[in-house]
């Protein structure tokens, strides 16, 4: 209980000091009276001689040593009392702080998670996405757009790119139906080459990865994601070596990948060997893969890009039958993987960051104005304090004692605001936004925002301390510091204007987005994904029959008006593109290529503009029929009627083409397939299934329209 004794000792010391000063004053007064002065005069003279009582006491207390903590406590109490006296003002300051800190932290956390945070793999800077590019002619403007590579390019790149250590190939659009223990589940899966884990430098936490031989032999082995392993198999390490049923075939689980292994994205839960039959490796077709490569240590992106461009030219030379010569039809692009994944969302996020920086700045200025305005009002009080013997330092401490609780309160509330904003922001982010899973409250961003606003609070609240300097006391009137305030107000107005304009622009482009008609109606439409097992239906006709039964069953359900199937739903984030050429026209264009059943367009409310729909009588024996959208019709045929003409799959650069012609039977409405913001390609629809190279029926999608009575 040492401190109790100290405290009592301290109280005694304090009384002693008071008494000492009092008696010494009395002695001084007595002496003055002995000199012949009246008591009042003597008292005054003695006090004058003594000087400032308070500062003398303070100086003595300083000698006692333990005043620091005590004065801080006293100042804090004083500060809190002052703040309580002006609750509205205090609340406004704290709220301003909290909003500034909270909002900027939240937005920056998103930006950091999506753009800045390195990928969770070792040496992420060396990971590169490699893809071919095509020149797009869009209203006289030429632009290079990357598209997905194919196995032939991968093979060539792997052999010829010397700056790249290794390149792995992934086929992301593979659906596995997991059956067996528990509910059947559709899993998003990827077929990967054996070297994907090696390129990413990831090792399974249990078991092993598969070998090149296993990949070549199309071994029925699978790697599980950490999430799937926990969710479906209870995190049991004994799963390794067990067989699971995927699309009706037994696959042996050979390993469980760590949580950080999220390739191509976090939604992938299972990986199996990518079997590439010779027919899959050919130039000019089968573009539906992803390439990730790891640069050799010390190699730069520019070097690799140079090599890649040269390789692409070489490919064209070596395959004159597959590629047009002398044209820059197909190039190559190598860019950091993180950048590639976030390439679409980046400009928006940068804009947001700038807006938030503006917001933080305005918040800080608001704070400064609030604090300085209050400080000017207190000039008189401070001058009186100084006159009563408060040292400049003591005044500063007192002002700080008021500012610090404000700052701390604001920061604490700021965390809450940031957390809350993130929790409502995350579900609102576009579903196809990459790396959403890596967004979390960023401590660095929070620290930065807090420090900046705390600094503003502290600096602004110290402004009145300038009044304690001699000239301010002596000559100036005590209204003070209006110059600083004027500047702040002017700067603030300017910034607010900038933000206002930016906000208006934002709102306008957002409204424009809302105005964009996607080309279909999602109202009352239910969708589901399914994968058809080749093990169960080895022949194409069997699959067609299965689909027919499925559509019949869906239509038979009460309330269902229309039902149809398409291989890729609009806005689903999965692309399937290709070039088409038209009979008798030298006018090839890049389009979204879709395979659909007769009821699909009606179910999604896509209007028919010309000609007729697919009908059930279109079959294997009748001419192959297709639909084009109005955008294709306008671009290729202008005012002429396209119905009755024919088109076919063109394949990239000048592939020698023996693809059969497809007759255009109708023109349908245009649909936004990629996103509402961008609309790069028109569409064509084919009734007949595309020749799928490795026998994979990709995501078949049912769309049913349920009448809502």
């Amino acid at each position: 209980m040492g401190w109790i004794r100290d405290w009592r000792l301290r109280a005694q010391q304090e009384a002693d000091l008071k008494e000492e000063i009092r008696t010494n004053l009395a002695i001084g007064k007595a002496e003055q009276m002995a000199g012949g002065k009246t008591p009042a005069e003597a008292d005054r003279a003695a006090r004058l001689e003594f000087g400032n009582l308070t500062s003398t006491e303070e100086a003595v207390r300083e000698v006692w040593g333990w005043t620091r903590l005590e004065t801080i406590l006293q100042d804090m109490r004083f500060g809190a009392r002052k703040l309580r006296k002006t609750p509205v003002w205090s609340a406004i300051v704290i709220l301003t702080l909290a909003l500034g800190v909270g909002m900027s932290t939240a937005i920056f956390s998103v930006v950091h998670g999506v753009l800045l945070q390195p990928l969770p793999y070792p040496e992420p800077d060396r990971l590169m996405a490699i893809s071919p590019t095509a020149t797009q002619k869009n209203k006289d403007q030429k632009s290079k757009e990357w598209f997905n590579p194919n196995p032939a390019l991968w093979t060539y790149w792997r052999e010829h790119l010397t700056r790249v250590e290794d390149i792995a190939l992934t086929r992301p659009v593979v659906n596995f139906n997991l059956t067996g223990d528990g509910e059947p589940e559709r899993l998003q899966a990827a077929r990967i080459t054996f070297n994907v884990p090696e390129v990413l430098r990831m090792r399974p936490i249990f078991g092993r990865t598969f070998s090149e031989d296993e990949q070549r032999a199309d071994a029925k082995v699978a790697l599980l994601s950490h999430a799937l392993w926990n969710r479906r198999f209870g995190g049991d390490p004994a799963i390794v070596g067990r067989k699971i049923q995927l699309n009706g075939e037994p696959f042996e689980v050979i390993g469980v990948m760590p949580p950080d292994f999220r390739y191509p994205t976090a939604s992938f839960e299972i990986w199996a060997p990518l079997y590439l039959p010779p027919s899959a490796i050919g130039h000019g077709y089968n573009f539906g893969y992803l390439c990730v490569g790891r640069l050799k240590p010390g190699a730069t992106v520019e070097q690799a890009q140079g090599e890649l461009s040269a390789a692409m030219r070489q490919i064209a030379l070596e395959h004159p039958s597959a590629y047009k010569q002398g044209q820059d039809w197909m190039g190559g692009l190598i860019e950091p993987l993180a950048q590639n994944q976030a390439s679409k969302i980046r400009p928006t996020l940068y804009l947001l960051t700038a807006a938030v920086a503006c917001l933080l700045l305005i918040g800080c200025m608001n704070l400064a104005v609030l604090l300085i305005a209050r400080a000017s009002g207190r000039a008189r009080e401070i001058v009186v304090r100084v006159a009563l013997g408060a040292s400049a330092q003591r005044i500063r401490h007192q002002l700080l004692a008021e500012a610090v609780p404000l700052g701390l309160g604001g920061a604490a509330l700021g965390v809450a605001v940031a957390w809350w904003m993130l929790s409502i922001l995350k579900p609102l982010l576009p579903a196809d936004m990459p790396r959403v899973e890596s967004i979390s409250l960023n401590p660095t961003a929070f620290a930065f925002a807090t420090i900046v606003s705390m600094a503003v609070v502290i600096l602004a609240s110290l402004v009145p301390a300038r009044l304690t300097t001699a000239p301010a006391l002596g000559s100036r009137s005590v209204t003070g510091s209006s110059g600083v305030r004027d500047w702040l107000v002017a700067a603030q107005v300017a910034l607010a204007l900038i933000l206002l304009f930016a906000g208006v622009l934002f709102a306008r482009s957002f409204a424009a987005l809302l105005d964009v008609s996607p080309g279909f109606s999602s109202q009352g439409v239910l969708t589901m994904h399914l994968a058809v097992s080749r093990a169960k239906f080895p022949k194409d006709e069997q699959i067609s029959a299965y689909y027919s039964r499925l559509i019949e069953a869906a239509k038979a359900a009460p309330g269902v008006l229309e039902a149809g199937i398409v291989n890729r739903l609009p806005l689903s984030g999965i692309m399937q593109t290709g070039g088409v050429e038209f009979e008798g026209l030298d006018n090839a264009i890049l389009v979204d290529w879709r395979t659909a059943t007769p009821g699909y367009h009606a179910a999604l409310g896509i209007p028919l503009k010309l000609g007729r729909w697919f009908s059930d009588s279109d079959g294997a024996d009748t001419p192959v029929v297709g639909l084009i959208d109005e955008a294709v019709a306008k671009r290729v045929f202008g005012d002429r009627n396209p119905v009755g003409t024919r088109f076919r799959w063109q394949g990239p650069p000048g592939q020698v083409n023996d693809d059969p012609w497809t007759e255009i039977v109708g023109v349908v409405g245009h649909v936004h397939n990629d996103s509402l913001e961008s609309d790069p390609r028109p569409q064509v629809y084919c009734l007949r299934a595309m020749p799928l190279v490795d026998g994979q029926i990709a995501a078949a999608v049912g769309a049913v329209d349920i009448g809502l009575a």
């Binding site: 009384a15 008696t23 004053l25 002496e31 000087g51 003398t56 003595v60």
Partner: protein, 139 residues
Amino acid sequence: MPPPDKIEVLQGTLDLLILRTLQWGPQHGHGIGQAIRSKSGELLLIEHGSLYPALHRLQREGWIESEWGVTQNNRKRTGIGIAIRQRTRNPRRRSRCSRFLKGAKFYRLTETGKSQLAVEESKWKLFVKAMSRTMRPQE
């Protein structure tokens, strides 16, 4: 430039002045200030703002000690010839007592204070010697 009528106490010499003053016997703060003033021929004016902290500092160093006593005036008037050390622990009561007794806090040199004074004094003399030698006009 006319010579100043008051000079400020040099940094670090206040301790020496206080110790030296207390050599002639116990004294209270006001008395110490007055003594320095008169002994210096009204040239050294000690501010209370620095005197009191210095007294408390020296006390903490153990060079001086303090006790509550009665001033000479009171002694004459009341005839109480001895310094009364208030032993009451309750500060309020004690200050009431001392007010009643017109007592004041007296400082007195301790034994270590005396030797410290000797040290400081010789240091001071050396300093003065050095200063005057340095400042002496060169032939």
